[in-house]
Symmetry: C2
Subunit: 420 residues, 2 copies
Amino acid sequence: MLSAALADGSAHRRCTFEAFARRLPDGRRYGVVGGTGRMLDALERFRFGDPELAVVSKFLDERTVTWLSEYRFSGDIDGYREGELYFPGSPILSVRGTFAECVLLETLILSILNHDSAIAAAAARMVSAAAGRKLIEMGSRRAHEDSAVACSRAAYLAGFDATSNLEAVRRYGVPGAGTSAHSYTLLHTDADGPDEAAAFRGQVAALGVGTTLLVDTYDITEGVKTAIAVAGPELGGVRIDSGDLGVWARQVRDQLDDLGATKTKIVVSGDLDEYSIAALRAEPVDTYGVGTSVVTGSGAPTAGMVYKLVEVEGIPVEKRSSNKASRGGTKCAMRLARATGTIVEEVVYPAGSAEPDPGGLTAQPLMVPMVRGGVTEPGQPTLTQSRDLLAHGLVSLPWEGLKLSRGEAAVPTRFVGRDR
Amino acid sequence: MLSAALADGSAHRRCTFEAFARRLPDGRRYGVVGGTGRMLDALERFRFGDPELAVVSKFLDERTVTWLSEYRFSGDIDGYREGELYFPGSPILSVRGTFAECVLLETLILSILNHDSAIAAAAARMVSAAAGRKLIEMGSRRAHEDSAVACSRAAYLAGFDATSNLEAVRRYGVPGAGTSAHSYTLLHTDADGPDEAAAFRGQVAALGVGTTLLVDTYDITEGVKTAIAVAGPELGGVRIDSGDLGVWARQVRDQLDDLGATKTKIVVSGDLDEYSIAALRAEPVDTYGVGTSVVTGSGAPTAGMVYKLVEVEGIPVEKRSSNKASRGGTKCAMRLARATGTIVEEVVYPAGSAEPDPGGLTAQPLMVPMVRGGVTEPGQPTLTQSRDLLAHGLVSLPWEGLKLSRGEAAVPTRFVGRDR
């Protein structure tokens, strides 16, 4: 494409590409923009060095290879802030520049946004389901080694409290947390058999009584008894990772209270997802450890966003064959809300035309400048700011929007035509 | 865990950890070991440098930080070769060394194996469904940016022919292939409207008549007509990305044949998975372009393998609480096959004990030495050798094993006890 467009001169035409989702995955009620910060960082580093050029020069003409060797995005990007909600058709990113410089960004932009948005959306549902209880992301083992780090970041964006992934602590400042594994308890086995108390003693000696002991390696009731015998009633927490978590949480709570450990927290883990988290809402659980379901997007591992050319030299363009129609033209978007803050509608309208009349509702503009002339605009939100933005966004949803069941988008998207 | 185990001395006990899958995901009939080569490479680089130590020194004692700064795996690993089939309970990796040096590898090993095995297993089903037709992996946009590169590699391992991910071409030598996008055709639009012929002319001028033209941007029948008018009947291929692909493939084949382009290939793409690939088996499709479904594991984005401590100082250990029992002890495995080559049973038995009697069947040992004293053994299979191994493995399955429907593992796994 690039080679052909450079040869016939069309590569230099001014274009707008738009990233958007045709639909929300899996009957979700809302989407969460995730990964924008990572994408802007990656964009600054997106160059073709000698190793990359060596590969493409095997099949590309010299002009194209030279162009790639000098590549640096010099265009503009506007878009939804990271942590913003989105709905079908929301113009999440608007990327403007020459065809050549914009088309090259498709995989970079979509890979990051599709991945991080999918994880953030799943995680946000778990945060709602947990209703204020703590959530620890523990899924690194079930995701690609580098994707896992981005998953920890996206889960934190969505409201998780901590991660067991130390690289996410290092790279993004996500708070770290973790408990021990069964292997640590099993390690304390000798010819006389298992010695759970020795394992607990070792952990308490190293980490203090504020630590969380894993009590389900052998027998949960015995494990709790041993844990309190070793650590005393000031023990920080116990983790249960198997069995009927609701039944065990109640039983362990009673047992802990009887032993005077009334402040010892109960952490549960083991194939939890938003549905099982919600199902445990009535039980005395303090913290959920979530693994596989959050790093795999709980049934929707990709957000399914696309990156489409919508305008060429000021002319709106769109694909016209069946089923996959896109809406041409560079767009803007705003969200209408009642005075109570509850959102009502997403309005997408042509860029450069007048803002549609909000009809008595409050209009919030959604697209902010991110890149100008290839340079990231100062003042992009931090991860914490994006986390706060999402927390506020979730509160603004109509109540149906927080339902876990499959259904329609929480608010409709209205497209205002160019001829309006 | 590490800190506590170093403090009480248990960190230095000799242990075996085993990576295995309790079950196959999503009713699959077989698993595919993927990522072993990547894992061995990552293991060689797995160190804690100053940036990592700076993070952990905030909460770890000095002894542990010093130990981490000197970390280098010095133990042994045996396991199933990359590209080997596996079944529930197959001891895919056996990792031996001190507790401390082995426990630290859990996330590294599982992240890579769980990810790559999930993608390879999904891709292998697509390869079977395609029944000899070509498959191009095009899913990078729907996966994390680095995971995407591993996905291309895993799809190639499973029998895909090529990838559109150039970094996978560079990093792993996967053959590259691709076609143009709708944006390239839409780019050729001016005040007089779209000019599909100009787009095709540009592509053919740059890439020759052997190229594949995307014909469904506007009207497929017109697109095919224009494509042949521009490129002539020697055109390499046309791609259809929307509509009822089976209906269009037949219609386009007839049209191409009528235009004398009898050798022009038909490439189809657009939300294909193993089921839709199989459903197109009777249609004149030459190549499938597969995206989202392969990079998301087609419903099973992680293989769900676990990494469990199974032996401490020669004593088998196992978790005993409900539902998650593991089988203690270091293990070996062999696969029994009939004289025809069709496999019958996976046999897992205690390492160091005599090989179970194959009872007239052919016994194939499954575990090979991978690491000795922390050093990767020479002669590990190349990606191409692993690809061949899997191709042979798929042929060895009983016919039910290749069914796409959900069901039981293709062959049972028999566990031979230690007291045998």
